[in-house]
Amino acid sequence: MQAATDMGTQRDLNDIGAIAREHYDTVYRFCARRVGIDAAADTAQETFLTAQRALAKFRGASSLSTWLLGIANNECRRMARKRRCEPPTIELTEMGSAEHHEETIINRQALQQALAKLSGEHREVVLLHEVEGLSYEEAALVLGVPVGTVKSRLHHAFANLRKSLTEYQEVAR
């Protein structure tokens, strides 16, 4: 998605400050969804500090944002271990309009509950692909797993979501 623009010129790669300004929001939100608001700023800072030291090793095999999110993923794991943070959650905000609500057959409350029931691995791929907007390949690079694994996990994640929604509807009846 952002691969073309994120490759950056050689001049941009030398300016970690410019990179931070461009990608800070994405990294911050990534961290906030995994370690919480309290630790998000620290984790984001650590991500860019690590990126600053490893910038010379960046070969451009992936986009810059993907590379940064890969670093952020590791930093989030480290921070989660240190501060014993809870596993990432997918929260849905009630921002949709009434019209938008009528167009969907999805019950948001049921979907929120279903998302909470997902396992950590499934929740991670859903966050990466659905929320952060990474492609299968980019998600695979961030998680360090094959693309097929991401595909499989997403399939199972949504299958579980559908199953949970079906059960919710049956109970509601």
Binding site: I16, G17, A20, R21, Y24, D25, Y28, R29, A32, R33, I37, A40, A41, D42, A44, Q45, F48, L49, Q52, R53, I90, E91, L92, T93, E94, M95, G96, T104, I105, I106, R108, L111, L115, V126, H129, E130, V131, G133, S135, Y136, K151, S152, L154, H155, F158, A159, L161, R162, L165
Partner: protein, 426 residues
């Protein structure tokens, strides 16, 4: 290939063109798949559109960290750890040093208390400050004690200390008790504190001191007869004499000699030092016995006895009756015997004090059959290194014990400081 597994990838455009065509065909022929596609798309859209989007903060701080180089310091160089370590060290040093200062303060208090007590005792015991040394000698028996009576005053018997006290109590120069600068009473007249001499200085000036010094030396020499001659030469050179000499030179045994010298007390140390140089000193002991009190006591009693003798002589002249004459003569004889005894005792003490005794024991150095080998430098270095290592180990062990014992004190302080530092950093 499972159609349903590829359905999500199809929706996300993550399949190849060929697979896409195949899947579309399947979906068109299956209402069930169509419903599933719709459901999956809606779930995906809801999640995408309504997922929580936190508001980013902390960009400036991150830029600042990046601008400063962002060098991560080792944990032991971090400010949090340094503060915590410093606080722990301060607590440990305070805990160690404070008892030492406390002991010093206590020692100072005890010293001040004892100095004040000594001074008060000195002031009361030497109430004869008012009497000069010469005055004490002349006024002793006739003025204060006897009042003309031939009978001995009970207080004149006993030790010299009691004699001094009795003189002080009955001396006409003694005034009413006065308070000195410390508020302590004394039997001395009102002399300004700065002019008061110490008790020890007073006694030193009042009468000479008599000390019987004895030295016992055991020296190993190569040639005993030669060393004996040298020892005798040393004794004579310092003005002394050989009091006794005994040699032993049995066959098959080491030669030895036992010598006793009497040297003037002023040359005592010089003689001992020279005798030490005759060979290897095996044993060396010096002792001194202060007999000043005994001499003073004997002298005092002697004066009293002589005064009594004079009294009896006068009485004998005045007595006419034979019975009284015999009685006085008998008493006079007893007194004279006591005087002679006291004079002899005094003479012995003074003689012993005037001439110190050196007991010298000379023994022949045994011959060595095999030459003494100096330890090799490597053995010496090894033993020194092992000794140093054990010292270092003991030191580290001691430090570890201190750290462990004081851990209930410094660990909480260090943790608190570390926590505060991390909190401030956030």
């Amino acid at each position: 290939m499972n159609m349903r597994e590829d359905l999500k990838a199809f929706i996300d455009n993550e399949v190849s063109e060929q697979e896409r065509t195949r899947i579309l065909k399947e979906i068109e022929n299956s209402p069930e798949l169509q419903a599933e596609v719709i459901e999956l798309r809606q779930m995906s859209r809801v999640i995408k559109e309504e997922a929580w989007q936190p508001q980013p903060v902390g960009l400036e701080r991150t830029l600042g960290a990046l601008a400063s180089g962002g060098n991560r310091t080792p944990w032991w160089m971090g400010k949090s750890f340094q503060w915590a370590f410093g606080a722990g060290c301060i607590v440990i040093f305070a805990a160690i040093l404070f008892p030492v200062f406390g002991q010093s303060k206590d020692a100072a208090k005890v010293w001040n208390r004892s100095s004040g007590a000594d001074e008060s005792i000195a002031l009361e015991a030497t109430g004869g400050y008012s009497a000069a040394p010469s005055d004490m000698k002349s006024s002793a028996p006739s003025e204060g004690l006897f009042n003309g009576s031939p009978q001995l005053d009970e207080k004149s018997k006993g030790t010299a200390g009691e004699w001094r006290d009795s003189v002080a109590m009955k001396s006409p120069a003694a005034s009413a008790p006065a308070r000195n600068q410390r508020g302590m009473t004394s039997t001395m007249p009102n002399i300004p504190p700065g002019e008061l001499p110490s008790a020890d200085a007073y006694f030193k000036s009042a009468q000479p001191r008599f000390e019987i010094k004895t030295a016992n030396l055991a020296v190993e020499v190569i040639d005993v007869p030669k060393a004996q001659q040298e020892a005798e030469t040393v004794a004579k050179a310092v003005g002394g004499r050989v009091e006794s000499s005994q040699k032993s030179d049995d066959e098959g045994q080491l030669a030895s000699a036992e010598l006793t010298f009497r040297v003037p007390v002023a040359s005592f140390e010089t003689a001992v030092n020279r005798l030490r140089k005759l060979g290897r000193v095996l044993n060396d002991s010096l002792s001194g016995q202060d007999v000043t009190g005994q001499v003073a006591d004997t002298s005092a009693r002697l004066k009293v006895m002589k005064a009594e003798e004079d009294q009896y002589v006068e009485l004998l002249k005045a007595t006419k009756k034979i019975g009284e004459v015999l009685s006085v003569k008998e008493r006079l004889s007893q007194v004279r015997q006591e005087i002679e005894s006291l004079e002899a005792s005094n003479k012995v003490l003074k003689s012993q004090a005037a001439e110190s005794t050196i007991n010298l024991s000379l023994t022949e150095k045994p011959s060595e059959n095999k030459p003494r080998q100096d330890p090799e430098w490597s053995e010496d270095a090894w033993s020194r290194a092992v000794s140093s290592l054990s010292s270092v180990g003991r030191g580290l062990g001691r430090a570890g014990v201190y750290l462990f014992v004081f851990s209930p004190i410094w660990i909480p302080v260090a943790l608190l400081v570390w926590w505060l530092a991390r909190r401030n950093r956030r």
